[in-house]
Amino acid sequence: MILFSAYLAVLLSFASGLLALTVNQRHLLQTLCNYSFSTLFKNQSQHKAWIDKNLELQRFPAFLRQGVFILLGLSGLFAVIAGLTVLISKQVITDQLPLGLPWLPWHIRFDCLSGFFFLIIGIGVFAVSLYGPGYVRTYKEHQHPFASLGLFTGLFVAGMLLVLLSDDAFMFMIAWELMSVASYFLVAFQHENSANRRAAFLYLLMAEVGALAIILAFGVLASFSDGFTFNALRESKLSVTWSSIAFVLALLGFGMKAGIAPIHVWLPEAHPVAPSHISALMSGVMLKVAVYGLIRFCFDLLSEVQWQWGVVLLILGSLSALAGILYAMMQPNLKRLLAYSSVENIGIIFMVLGLTMIFMATGHPQLGVLGLLAALFHAFNHALFKNLLFLGAGILQHQTHELNIDMMGGLIKKMPQTSLLFLVGCMSISSLPLFNGFVSEWLAFQTALQVDVLDNGVLRSLIPVAAAALALTAALAAACFVKVFGLIFLGQPRSHHSEKAHEVQNKFMLAGPALLAGLCFFIGIFPSTIIHLINNTSEQLLGQTLPNVNALSWLWLAPVSAQQASYSPPLVLIAALIAAGICYSYFRRNPLTTVRTAPTWDCGFGGLTPRMQYTSSSFTMPFRRIFAKVWIVDEQISKETKGAMNQEVASVHYQLQVHDHSWPHIYTPIAQGVNDLARQVGRIQTGNIRTYLGYSFVTLILLLWLIS
């Protein structure tokens, strides 16, 4: 039953992709429907009217779009059902599918870890399917065909679900490639722009390099075992050196997909150029699949984790978190900013996973469980709020035709509902209390504060530094999202478009983000609901649960023990409501003190214009100065003067560009190296047939010598 709904989720996403292909086959569909209905039902007049109405030339595209997204939504729904049931029942279900080569059936395994990520994907896909029909309506059919968008969306979702289901390396890689390649086509969807094509190519290139690393990692494991099924890989006995090599390869492969610094560069290029609902899926969901891969590989397939790996993850995670948020802060493009912020959040997840490894390897499995809990919970939360923010960015782009936050402003009055949903997203991602982001950060701090139990001096001093980095990251994230919300929604409109903007008409476009925002708040208040589920996951994966399960009531969150740390969001919410209520009623008691509106104080000079407001670059200027070494800042000010002696300034142009350090220091040298190598190889290609015959002859002799 559980497996059935999981399969159904995969099949429905395939079906939605296939249905999208029929966008140009209206007549075929019409005859098919007529034929099937006439054979199946006797009173066909009623059905016929329905078919004719919906398959009319004008209505057909909208009808099909809805059909595609309904199938996708059902797929998400079944994924949620499958995930929840397997998490609650704590089952491990295995199966074999007679697909692929005859002697290599696909092995399926559906356990709590897969179930948890099924839940993440299901929620994300469901929200996107509510949002999608309204969003894609604006694409012109001849320029951006819906068939390709729908097909690759379906394949992309199916690929992600299959990755989670797979129980052998072959199926894993096939599903992984399906996911990567389908998402490549989605990134390249708006291919008329050369920057988009470049971003898509970069994405494909890095995805394939990552996939190679994963194949090699599986290969290392497989060479010590018989077969490629995960069961066989689990049994393999590796020396520490070989398992470390496998770990490094897996980290490279999965880290590249997850967007860990410094192998994150595809992420801020690729995520912003895809359609917004796809960016939401890529940033909110696909990165989690990479996290799943790493967890599966390290904690399940590699039987023994080493604490040194944990240190590597901890350092890489801290660096990514800090670099991600600092780069995010400097981006004027909203979707690019959100993409960099994904780097930050993935960094936090990796950091906490590193702590888990350290605690597991040094013989403190219960603290390891706490770390895994924080990591998985943060992955879940990030999926919620990042999806929400990307969908919100899509609405903004839809309504204002802008993504540059310096061109927005004052939208809180024009788009009240969107602004409220976006505010919830910003508050969650800034990890403010009462929202879900805070809970996972709280758990991460609690994990890091348990460092006292370790014996190793290096670790004891390293982990507090990582905690400090986490604290700095959280504070910078709050600054970044104050900037985002403040500049987009508050103040005065900075451009014509945002002055004319209005609330989105399609209510379903708001329903998707509203669902996510509601979940962000609900889980912020009742985190135990999810933590119970994750606890089941860690019981299966690590064979351990939280030390103090009894303390995990719906009211209290006390992961270690009630004496050490506890947090009760419902009580905090009640107290906050009481406090706000008291001060509201106290200050409202006097009827004379009703609010009077007046023009803004302009220092007596008159004429406050929107151009006088702070912009993105002026808001972040203190940060740019303080952390100057982090970016390559290209700041140019040119003045034009006029008048006698050129004393009077006619106009000032200010240009600011912030670049990533990893390009000139890592990627350009690599690209250069590849080019040089190719040129060296090119030397033997003389273009002369005799030389080539000579090569063939020498090769033949060599091979004969080898096999003899």
């Binding site: 800034s430 403010l432 709280w442």
Partner: protein
């Protein structure tokens, strides 16, 4: 009973906050050879403001009007978590010290958004500077507090203070570092000299004032009160974490009385130190604040490392 005491204590916290501000002003005036206003002047100011008709800009959105309530509530919640006169608080269990820092972040989030809401250059300037300073100060504060929580192996403030009380007078190098870090952070976060000048009306040096320039009437009263509360909160944190002696450990009336007297004395003393420092030190340039705060961060980190290396049980 516990809850009643906790609620009463939070109320006391909120009521006493303007008094501390008045006392601080009194000390500063005396040090600068000026005639001091009455100690109760801040109460009269708050009363006057809350009875005035508020004037709000035409550009303001609902966020501008809601923000003062949220800021005040979040700061009041933070205050209810901190033991003032008695250690054993049930509120400390429902929200630990990390949540308290979270409440501060919550209040700051809305304060800075309110600064951006009207769309004037001042508001943006204040918000940008406030976020810069606080994003450097918050980690420094967490480092200082983590030193305490790791020593007491709990993040529950009541528990941590009780632990320090039980240990008696032990000189811990980590606490000395953490104390200095927390003092530096407190000065930055509450907008005192040398980071920000609470009495300034010179536009280019304003931070806190720039954000709340558009507020008037009861909204201004709430924000002023919240910032007085924040000042007192940091004072109580410093006093009760590092010098907890005197705080009541039981709910006996006599102990509570002593606890109240003790904290009043400690706060009065701290305010005198602050007044002296504010009289002697000049305000810093904005871009030297980062050096100041990274010094605080470093002190917090050194405190934590010295705890781990020197003091931990193995």
């Amino acid at each position: 009973m516990n809850w009643l005491i906790a609620i009463l204590q939070s109320a006391l916290f909120i009521i006493l906050a303007p008094l501390l501000a008045g006392w601080l002003k009194y000390c500063k005036c005396r040090l600068q050879n000026r005639k001091a206003p009455s100690l109760l002047q801040p109460y009269q100011d708050l009363l006057k403001l809350s009875n005035k008709q508020p004037v709000v800009s035409e550009q303001a959105s609902w966020l501008f009007i809601t923000a003062p309530y949220l800021i005040f509530s979040a700061t009041a919640l933070a205050a209810s978590v901190v033991p003032l006169i008695v250690v054993d608080l049930p509120t400390s269990a429902s929200a630990d010290v990390i949540v308290m820092v979270g409440f501060f972040a919550f209040a700051r989030f809305f304060l800075t958004l309110a600064g951006l809401d009207i769309g004037t250059a001042f508001g943006g300037m204040g918000s940008s500077r406030e976020m810069t300073i606080s994003s450097l100060a918050e980690p420094a504060m967490l480092m200082a507090i983590f030193t305490l929580t790791m020593t007491a192996s709990t993040t529950n403030l009541s528990g941590a203070i009780a632990h320090v009380l039980d240990e008696g007078l032990v000189l811990r190098p980590s606490f000395v570092f953490a104390l200095f870090a927390l003092v530096l952070v407190a000065i930055a976060e509450t907008g005192r000299i040398p980071v920000d000048n609470p009495t300034t009306h010179l536009e280019l040096t304003m931070i806190h004032e720039a954000m709340i320039l558009e507020y008037s009437g009861r909204y201004l009263a709430l924000i002023e009160w919240a910032s007085q509360l924040k000042l007192m909160l940091y004072g109580v944190l410093i006093a009760n974490i590092f010098f907890p002696w005197g705080i009541a450990e039981t709910f006996a009336l006599k102990d509570l009385g002593y606890g109240l007297l003790a904290i009043l004395g400690k706060l009065a003393l701290l305010a005198i130190f602050l007044a002296i420092a504010e009289t002697l030190v000049a305000k810093m340039r904005l871009f030297r604040v980062q050096e100041y705060l990274s010094f605080a961060y470093l002190l917090g980190l050194i405190g934590m490392l010295s705890h781990i290396i020197l003091e931990a049980s193995r």
